[in-house]
Amino acid sequence: MGVDLGDLFPKQPCSYQDFSGRIIAIDAYNVIHQFLAIIRQRDGTPLKDASGHITSHLSGLLFRTSNLVEAGIRPVYVFDGPPHALKARTIAERRKRKEQAERDYQEALAAGDLATAKSKASQTSRLTDEILTESKELLLALGIPFVQAPSEGEAQASFMVQQGHAYAAGSQDFDCLLFGASLLIRNLTSSERRKLPGKQAYVTVLPELLRLDQGLTTNGITREQLVDIAILLGTDFNDGIKGYGPKKSLAAIKEHGSLEQMLQAHPEITLPSEEIATIRSMFLQPPVTTDYTIKWTSPDPSKVLQVLCEEHQFSQARVTPALEKFQKAEYVLKQRNLFDF
């Protein structure tokens, strides 16, 4: 889910080419969730192989990543580690929502309402251990590096940006900005056309770039204040305060300076100070690791074909052109961008 900071940050529409030659640390859980939610048939059934095994994540990783490397982007995927205890509640709620969506999906399917079925189905996807293992296996075969985060993947991706090891973080969620990534790219792994929810209409989805500095300056706040605003809005670690949207939270923190001072002026709001301290440290000093290497290797075509075509019955005619993009990209990963000069 993440924190809804969309209204506070200016967004710059971009194309893949703008990031050619750049290393982008991609929030793996976020994009795989996206693949599982979006890559489905018309009635909402995920892509499956002959034995009924879900393959939406493999399809997404192969085709969307191939488009990135074709444009000269150097992706590195960052996987989540064990979630923080405070996130457990969020996770439990998500599970409940998914169970409800699952029931709605079956109902809609039985009633023959395909549009509702697809919409509900997209909310039921779960990241199983199997999906994660298979995703990593495919990345390895494709020669695309991944990093295992000690806890939040977005925190690790943001840390890699801060270290200068990656140019930007890639995620749909805004949390990377809270974690201190100077640049965040959204819609990086979306298809270019996206269906509008509940309508038979499509919009063109372009990657967009968000700059932390620019957002802070525009709003006249510090990163610490941004985190305080996020706590009012609600994060993966707390529910937020009812009635506090982005604008009201911004105004309140700007008026009072910090969350503590604001709470003094609003005794009706209960927010335990330990909880505030924990969430702040989650965003400002999250657990991260320096134990990673980012290195692209040659794709292993026979392994890729084995995983996709033999084990999961992907059509070789569709896999081969995507695989060729990875093979071509080998040059690109060692190639400089003309516009760096």
Partner: protein
Amino acid sequence: MFVAKVKSDIIKGIIEVTSPLVNEAKFNITAKGLSLRAVDPAHVAMVDLELKNSAFEEYKASDMELGIDLDKLSGIMKLASAGDLVTLEYDEEANRLIVKIGNLVRRMGLIDTAGMPDSKVPHLDLPAKAVVKAGELHKGVRASEAVSDHLSLNIDKDSFELFAEGDTDTVNLKLPRDMLLELQSPGKFRSLFSIDYFSNMIKPVRSEDPITINLGNDNPIRVDFDIAEKNGHVTYLLAPRIESE
């Protein structure tokens, strides 16, 4: 307005120069001739092509931009024999390019040029210059392809050198000053390039024709040559590979 009659080889030449980089290109048409600039999707190479009106048998045009799908153009041009004359005409009402080869007429839909941005030429520092016969480069590149995916180009005060190194084999082509058409270099310069890209850049030039190379240290290369009996000119820029590994 745009109506032109031209030898098929000249159009094929444009396709050969441009299509390794892009599938579609924006042709800028003026009374003086046509030009295009294209950059490949990975931003590794840029081509600038100019064709004067004197390259055409007949040429009448006012200023306009045509967004042309090069695969389509290439498809129809394959049906033209060497020496055939091709007529190109812009149909303003239908926004199509009419390509006539003898009695064969293809009406070709055009691409909206609004989405095709104009790229700026990067700033380059290229102190060394060598003019080499294309045939020599073709040989060097073909030999290099067999051992590696990249090669280094080196120019010093006395020679031009092409070098490729694979796991077990190396290829070296050294051309001393007397085998070059021109050499100007204030010192030693060296940059590394992808053989694929470099090969595509020099392929369209006939063996006996000269290619001008401008080189720096770890900088893009600039390659210049004439086309259409010197009624046209091509400039290629290619970004270097990263050294080491």
